[in-house]
Symmetry: C2
Subunit: 491 residues, 2 copies
């Protein structure tokens, strides 16, 4: 295979951070005004390749030697991260050409998106020089690259393990939200690219790359403005023939469009146009960031195998069961009444008082054995296409176990988590009915909740924060599947 | 004033827990199968009144003497919590009459909601006896009472301080979700009543009580089935004339109605009927549990003063600003462009690159002084009816502060929280424009996030988990206000 035109961007052997500041070591954590060096160090890029901070005012930063200019760094440097002000960029580009770098990521903002004609002119000059020299550019006004297999990241706290999801984003903060938010739910990434104003590398290049990339099995994107609309359409269409593609478009309302124009200088389209694009290309449309998260979870877990609208709810708490049923119906799915034979089997071990074996099955699932039995019987009922279950953790101590120490309690919950996930995974495997898990237990700490989500995900079980969101994800996926008829199956 | 007919329920001097089990000490924490004793001990009811566990098989539980029967407990006992099976209830009722108790809460389930005619007959017999003796009954099949001023609670972890919100609920678990969920956001309660199947005390009695109760300023309810429809309508109407009333109805879809029938034996109505009830009574309709939470926060903070649809967003992160603008527009609100004069004032201290002073105002608010200045100028712009702002905490260390210890970092964030809340409260007070806060910072722990929410709430500042939910709450409140024209103002 010939090297893909974008390949150098994703596999740099040495990176220079030009314009690194003394606060770079403090870490980012959020908004993204600093922290590239900290993030690369956290991923241990320096154990793999050259890492060269550049700033004439410092001789050292975080234990690394700091060089006065890019030209002073040791050979070879194939990737530059530009943290300098926009007005200093033309000089840096000249140095990069001399240094023979292959790609530059411009974190630098303040080009044409400001509306200043002088800056727009400078942007054009920079593009011309880079193109002539064959240097690819990511940005400007963006967070750049997260490639865990290459130990490259743009925020702290990104998972170190690579995965199968590629994210293409015009917003660095939104890309960060996706990595952090989905990371907590177990999802891992092949590549994440925040490409900002896209003066060189644009959405369509990245869709082409993602479609061909063997590490990428699922593609998701956050788009604001559409550059090269026709090419992007064709790239999305080609990608969606071979992999699930989940798209979120910002700026679809008047207010959002104005904000997008301020942000990336892009002109946003209408809801109708974007809806048509998704329909015609076979992509899934996420209407909100929550949708994007929930659809990525759906297509990378057993949820992708759901074939019908019948949902069995296995939950504790009658009022919760009622509101959950309403949420499922509102999402366009069904809560089919439990077949008589299934009811009979359940009543063999579930008491009548305070419970219900009608769907929703409202019963305290108790021991793993009872949970396993309940789930299996419900999974085998032909009316149920998918199960939504809420494992109950951390509530029961042994009789007389009135005040367990925090540590004992945490250990017990960890065991319960492992047992619940095993039960779910085995039942799912043996009955073929996908199971979705919801952790409702208020007494479980956020840390343990993350453990549950990640263990479940590794076992192919999707977790959702609410029944409404689980039902919506399932419903969107079923609708997408219906609309794709005639296109090749991607799972 | 004559004593309200329900008053004895809310002010018991001594409580007997009949059928208490050894696991009662272990605490509830969730689903609600046990834990009344633990919850009462947590609230320290025993320091205020008599607390008498009853179980012939035990002589002691959690350090309290356990009595063989209700008749063996010391006089007086005015409230009984029944934890025994349904079939043993008639005998308990006879004892309660002999003991001259004034009210019984039946946690006991398994009456008419099972569909068993024998149990329905027994329920009728019990009702007859209680009525004849003048004993009020809460339940059956419910969690009963949370009255923090009287140190009564039905789950662990409920706040000890009383507040101004009364919740009426046909579901104990949903009531628990409301107390825990809203408690984290700072809301406190006057009374919460989970009344289950309502064989005696019903929704309309509780609305009447809430309307008259001087401790209650806001009323919210979760309703499944409607008993005595006409009386409930009149009670809600009377209550909504004097206090904000927020209603959530479970079982409005076919699936939800079937679940409600299993849960409380009630027949649910349609969306249209419930919508009409809300319109005609002047109540606010919550469509989901999230709505209920968000509307309670709205009417108990400065959000209740919002008079128009113009929202100014003061946020960091361009992509977040774009999606937030879309969310606000989708909720039916506006993101009006920043007036020229306001832009000029902001540009005096906000740089151009990587920021925007158009609404949404996308700028890292930096120091408390800069945040204060930004907020004040934005609050004074006549186009802005409400501000949604995201405080930025925990990101900045002093230069060279590369690895702050967890403790130092937590202390710094606590100071930043207090400073941010003070800034918001002062700006809100001085400009008259309500401010809503969203904590987005991923690096802030859930504990510190709770601290922020509670401090903000005490200062009259609402917090919401997402811009979409903040916008929806504001929009629902404005719509409700429009629909109430002609009714007395409740704030």
């Amino acid at each position: 295979l010939p090297e893909h035109a974008l390949e150098p961007i994703f596999h740099p052997r040495a990176i220079a951070l030009v314009g690194v500041s003394s606060s770079e070591g403090a870490g980012s954590g959020g908004g993204g005004s600093s922290g590239f060096l900290a993030s690369l160090l956290e991923q241990r890029f320096q154990e793999k390749g050259g890492l060269y901070p550049v700033n004439p005012k410092m001789s050292e930063v975080r234990g690394l030697r700091c060089y006065p200019t890019l030209l002073d760094t040791p050979d070879p440097v194939d990737h530059v991260i530009s943290l300098i002000p926009a007005r200093a960029v033309p000089a840096l580009v000249d140095q990069a050409i001399q240094k023979k770098v292959r790609s530059i990521h411009f974190f630098t903002a303040g080009f044409s998106e400001t509306g200043d004609p002088e800056m727009a002119r400078m942007e054009q000059e920079v593009i011309g020089k880079l193109k002539a020299a064959g240097i690819r550019a990511v940005g400007p006004n963006c967070m750049g690259l997260y490639v865990p297999s290459e130990r490259i990241a743009f925020m702290n706290g990104f998972p170190k393990e690579p995965g199968n999801v590629m994210m293409i984003s015009q917003s660095g903060a939104n890309a960060g939200d996706v990595v952090h938010g989905l990371g907590r739910r177990g999802v891992r990434f092949s590549k994440v690219v925040s490409f900002g104003n896209g003066i060189d590398v644009r959405a369509h290049d990245l869709f082409d790359y993602a479609a061909a990339d063997p590490q990428t099995e699922v593609i998701t994107a956050y788009i604001e403005g559409v550059q090269d609309g026709r090419r992007m359409f064709e790239s999305i269409k080609a990608a969606a023939r071979v992999k699930p593609v989940i798209l979120l478009k910002g700026g679809l309302t008047g207010a959002g469009a104005r904000a997008a124009h301020s942000h990336t200088g892009s002109l946003a389209g209408s809801i109708d146009i974007f809806e048509a694009l998704c329909r015609q290309t076979g992509a899934m449309r996420a209407e909100t960031m929550d949708d994007l998260h929930d659809l990525v979870v759906a297509v990378t877990t057993s949820v992708k195998r759901v074939r019908g609208r019948g949902v069995a709810l296995v939950v504790g708490g009658g009022g919760f069961a009622v509101l959950s049923s309403d949420a499922i119906a509102t999402a366009g799915l069904e809560v089919p009444p439990t077949p008589e034979e299934t009811k009979r089997l359940l009543h063999e071990f579930i008491p009548v008082a305070g419970t219900s074996v009608n769907n929703p099955i409202d019963t305290n699932m108790g021991t793993p054995e009872v949970a396993m039995k309940t789930l299996r019987i419900v999974s085998e009922a032909p009316s149920n296409d998918v199960i939504i279950a809420t494992p109950s953790l951390g509530q029961r101590g042994a009789p007389g176990d009135t005040t367990p120490s925090t540590e004992d309690r945490e250990g017990r919950i960890r065991e319960q988590i492992t047992a619940a996930v095993e039960t779910y995974a085995r039942t799912q495997e043996e009955t073929g009915t996908p199971i979705v898990a919801l952790l409702r237990d208020r007494t479980v700490t956020p840390e343990l909740s993350d453990v549950f989500q990640q263990e479940a995900y590794r076992a192919g079980i999707a977790t959702y924060p609410t029944v409404a969101r689980a039902a919506r994800a399932i419903s969107l996926m079923l609708r997408w599947r219906e609309r794709r008829q005639g296109l090749p199956a991607v799972f």
